[in-house]
Amino acid sequence: KKQALMKVFDEVNENFQAIFEKLSGGGSARLKLENEVDPFEGGLILESQPRGKSVHRLEALSGGEKSLTALSFIFAIQQYAPSPFYVLDEVDMFLDGVNSELVANMVREQADRAQFIMVSLRKVTLKLADHVYGVTMRDGITQVLGTVDVDEIAHEELKEA
C-alpha cells in the first residue's frame, strides 16, 4: 500500500515540477509529504517558487499564484492517469492575461492527444479553441448556439485578455 502511494507520488511530483515550470515561465515547484517515513500519517504539501522569488508554501502566495500552483497539480494528476476527454470549468478565473494565455497554450498542446472542453469567459483562452459554443438563457431555458466567432462576441460579454 505504501509502495503504491510512493509510486504515484514520485510520478505526479515529476509531472507537477515540469508543468509548473512551463505555466509560470520558469518557476519551480514540488510536492512534499508531511511524513516521509509513514505517508499515511501526514498530508501532502504543495510548494512553489514563482520566477525570481523565494520558496513559499501555498498559503503565502497571491491568489493567482495559488491557482496556478493548484492547476499544475490537477494537470499533473491528469497526466498520470490520462483520460480520453476533459472538462475544465472557468479554471482561468483568477489569472491575469499572461498566465491565462500560458494555460490556454498548454490545453491547446494537450488537445492533440485528448479532447478538451473548456468553459471560459476569457477571449485569450477562447481564441485558441477549434470551436466555440455560445450559451444564452431566455425565459429560464438555456439555448446552445452553434459555433460563434470569438471576435464577433460583443466586448461586454468577454474578458478580452
Binding site: K1, A4, L5, K7, V8, F9, V12, F40, G42, G43, L44, I45, L58, K66, S67, T69, A70, L71, F73, I74, I77, Q78, A81, S83, P84, F85, Y86, V87, L88, D89, E90, V91, M93, F94, R108, A111, Q115, F116, I117, M118, V119, S120, L126, L128, A129, D130, H131, V132, Y133, V135, T136, M137, D139, G140, I141, T142, Q143, V144, V148, L158
Partner: protein, 170 residues
C-alpha cells in the same frame, strides 16, 4: 475515443438540447447564469455521480427542469452521453457507446426519484456504467472533470485531504 454528443431532456435549465463535440479543443462561453456549468453537471450526472452536492442540487429531484419562466415543471429528465468507440477503448463491439441516465419522480413521494440506466438502449445499472467507463479511465470522482471552484477547493483543503487525492489514484 472522444465525447461525440451530449443529449439533454428536461435536465436543469435545458428543455431538449443536443450538443455535438469534436475531438480537439472546444470552448463554451456565455453570460453568468446562462447554463454553462449545467452542461458539465449533465456529464457528471451520467458518469454516475451519487452525490447531489457535486451537481449543485439539494436532492436529485432538483435536477429535473422546473419549467423556467413560462412552462410546467417536469416529472422526469434524462441525459445521454455518446462516446466514439471506433478504437474499442471500451471492450464493446460498437462504434458508438450511448450511456443514458434517466430519473423520474417517484409516484408515492415527489421529492424522491427513481434512477434508470441504459447502455445503447438496453437496461443497465450504475455498476455496469462504472465498469465500462473504467476501461477509458473516465470517472465522476477523477480529475478529468474540473468543476467551477475545484481550483479554489484544492488550495483551501487540508494537507491530509490533498494526500487523499493521491490515495484514490494509487
Amino acid at each position: 475515443m472522444y465525447l461525440k454528443r451530449v443529449e439533454m431532456k428536461n435536465f436543469k435549465s435545458f428543455r431538449q438540447q443536443e450538443v455535438p463535440f469534436e475531438p480537439g479543443f472546444t470552448g463554451i462561453t456565455g453570460p453568468n447564469g446562462s447554463g454553462k456549468s449545467n452542461i458539465s453537471d449533465a456529464i457528471l450526472f451520467v458518469l454516475g455521480t451519487t452525490s447531489s452536492k457535486q451537481i449543485r442540487a439539494g436532492r436529485l429531484a432538483d435536477l429535473i427542469h422546473n419549467g423556467g419562466a413560462n412552462g410546467e415543471p417536469r416529472d422526469e429528465c434524462k441525459v445521454s452521453l455518446v462516446l466514439a468507440n471506433e478504437d474499442r477503448t471500451i471492450p464493446v463491439d460498437e462504434d458508438e457507446i450511448v450511456l443514458t441516465r434517466r430519473i423520474k419522480r417517484s409516484p408515492s413521494d415527489p421529492e424522491r426519484v427513481n434512477s434508470y440506466y441504459y447502455v445503447n438502449g438496453d437496461t443497465s445499472s450504475l455498476t455496469e456504467f462504472q465498469d465500462l467507463l473504467s476501461h477509458a479511465r473516465i470517472s465522476a470522482d477523477g480529475y478529468n472533470i474540473v468543476q467551477q471552484g475545484d481550483v479554489t477547493r484544492i488550495v483551501s483543503m487540508s494537507t491530509t485531504e490533498r494526500r487523499g487525492i493521491l490515495d484514490e489514484i494509487a
